[in-house]
């Protein structure tokens, strides 16, 4: 469905060159569901915009849905859907009109476009606002309208640039459900970018981690986790002295794991850590180290990112919706 070779895009800003995308080689098969994950400015949108013919590559090639994005751009456009990072509906338009126009643009007859618009309005919960002027809609309602527009022609390949940004949890769940159904019913190939770590985790079978315009990891969320981050086991003891002793002379079982010690707590990061816990507790009990509590946290994709780059996806602050959305999953 998608095949890129050394796809590269530079921008010139104030006479300086910004290397937004630096040689991406990506292959996506029909029916796959891929999430592009990366911090702000990593080059996710730029990559998507090249794949959707919106931006000519500086160098390298990309074939999408069987056609070259630079020389056969119209053929590509006919076969894909794209939900951009911005709002796609005109402010002075009405949602339903925009949906119908969008359907017509993809070659649907007026009647078919109207019918399809009606279906999507109902299923995305837009019935009350579809006939209002777009500038009067809330951010989340506009986002759902964007999604409806991207789906109107039931494309075989769908690109979504941060589709769920601005949606409340219920609507995010609803969107994820929609995406899953698209795949199940139509076998749609889906490429999305997201800041929500849990979304990438739950939705995609394949996560492509992008940083500074390069792919730095590409695997299923489980593989990424097991290869690039371990489970985190936090043991709390009665006395700091005990914690120190355990940290200094860890049982052989957790040899090679990363061990940190802080007051009465010992934090152990180990692959497959959850399965080690029962045995670990037995050993510690034999050694007369009284464990007061145990907490096991499965690694998040943020931990993966942290281990890959030494930076957290979340650290650059409040404008990152993932800060609250992708909070720890506790096993």
């Amino acid at each position: 469905m998608i095949e890129t070779q050394n796809l590269t895009r530079h921008f010139t800003v104030n006479k300086k060159t910004v290397e937004a995308v630096r040689g991406i080689d990506l292959r996506v098969e029909a029916g796959e569901m891929v999430a592009l994950l990366g911090p702000n400015g990593a080059g996710k949108s730029t990559t998507l915009r090249m794949l959707t013919t919106l931006l000519p590559p500086t160098s390298g090639t990309a074939r999408v849905a069987g056609f070259d994005v630079t020389t056969q751009d119209r053929e590509v456009r006919r076969r894909i859907g794209y939900i951009g990072q911005g709002n796609g509906a005109g402010h002075s338009q009405r949602g339903r009109d925009e949906l119908i126009t969008q359907g017509r643009a993809y070659g649907l007859s007026a009647a078919a476009a109207r019918e399809r618009a009606g279906e999507l309005i109902a299923s995305l919960g837009l019935t009350e606002v579809a006939d209002r002027i777009v500038s009067s809609l809330s951010g989340g309602q506009r986002r759902r309208l964007d999604i409806a527009m991207g789906l109107i022609h039931a494309p075989g390949l769908l690109f979504l640039d941060e589709p769920s940004t601005g949606l409340d949890p219920q609507n995010r769940a609803n969107l994820q459900e929609h995406i899953r159904r698209l795949r199940a019913e139509h076998g749609t190939t889906i490429v999305l970018t997201t800041h929500y770590l849990d979304e990438a985790d739950h939705l995609a079978e394949r996560v492509v981690v992008i940083d500074h315009g390069r792919i730095i990891a590409d695997a299923s969320p489980e593989r990424l986790r097991s290869e690039h981050a371990g489970d985190r086991i936090t043991l709390t003891f009665d006395h700091a002295e005990e914690a120190r002793r355990v940290a200094a002379h860890p049982p052989g079982l957790i040899e090679g794991a990363r061990i940190e010690h802080d007051g009465t707590r010992v934090v152990i990061e180990a692959t497959g850590g959850a399965r080690l816990v029962p045995e670990l507790l037995r050993i510690l009990e034999k050694e007369n180290s009284a464990v007061v509590s145990v907490e096991v946290v499965r690694p998040t994709l943020d931990d993966v990112f942290l281990n890959l780059t030494g930076r957290s996806l979340r650290e650059d602050g409040a404008d990152l919706p993932g800060t609250t959305g992708g909070k720890d999953e506790v096993a």
Partner: protein, 251 residues
């Protein structure tokens, strides 16, 4: 799934026109505009033959001017849609690139047809005598020219991106000299030599002269041929530059 350039253009045109039709106040307001020009400028024009002759000269130019104002600002609406994601969404659809430009330009032209009709209706009692066939041909010729102008305005919007003041600055700086040089509101015949030469190089001059000939009913006059050439050339150049700019835009 087979679409045509005309079909695509109608889709874009329909989309653009819808909000205008829903807001009749703005239409009524824009209708009145050329009437002000008529009332304020017509009395200033030196004409030997009295009011009727003045109108015969002035009204076609005024019609061209309203169309010019409207289409040269096409890009401004686009700028707003570029800032949201609406333009991007249209670009990523299979709609043909020229249709995106022509549809937008036509939306600006249609209200000027209403303006033209009003102007004609108001001036007939004062002796304006437009040739019906010529008037219709004149409006079609104007469409061709204004599609080109709309395309250039579109290009300007792409080039100036999110800086509205750049767009308006360039638009005003270019539009007014073109307007004055074309002898649209005041004749240039009595101007100095350099002004008259410059005026000959302005495609708009030929379009305005063709309009005057057509409204007079001189359908086969040489001015008409020159006007057609000028309008087609502007349309072709505009669409070429516009679609190219759209492909290259990094927005």
């Amino acid at each position: 799934m087979n679409t045509t350039l005309i079909g695509d253009t109608l889709i874009v045109f329909g989309r653009e026109l819808r909000p205008v039709l829903r807001d009749p106040f703005s239409v009524v307001f824009s209708l009145a505009q050329p009437l002000f020009f008529l009332a304020l400028f017509a009395p200033l024009i030196p004409a030997a033959g009295g009011t009727a002759e003045t109108l015969q000269w002035f009204v076609p130019g005024l019609i061209v001017m309203s169309c010019l104002f409207a289409t040269s600002s096409t890009g401004s609406n686009l700028q707003f849609e570029m800032q949201t994601g609406a333009h991007e969404r249209m670009l990523v659809s299979p709609l043909r690139r020229p249709a995106l430009i022509i549809g937008r330009a036509l939306k600006e032209i249609v209200p000027t047809f209403a303006q033209a009709a009003l102007l004609i209706a108001v001036t007939i009692p004062f002796g304006f005598r437009p040739d019906p066939v010529g008037a219709i041909l004149g409006l079609l010729l104007l469409c061709v020219f204004c599609v080109g102008l709309g395309a250039l305005s579109y290009t300007l919007a792409l080039a100036s991106r999110n800086q509205e003041w750049v767009f308006w600055g360039v638009q005003q700086t270019l539009l007014f000299p073109l307007l004055l040089l074309a002898g649209m509101l005041l004749p240039v015949d009595n101007g100095p030599e350099w002004l008259r030469v410059l005026s000959r190089f302005n495609p708009l001059t030929h379009v305005v002269e063709a309009e005057r000939a057509l409204f007079d009913g001189r359908l086969l006059a040489p001015e008409v041929a020159a006007g057609v050439v000028a309008a087609v050339a502007v349309a072709a150049v505009g669409l070429f530059i516009g679609t190219r700019a759209m492909r290259r835009a990094t927005g």
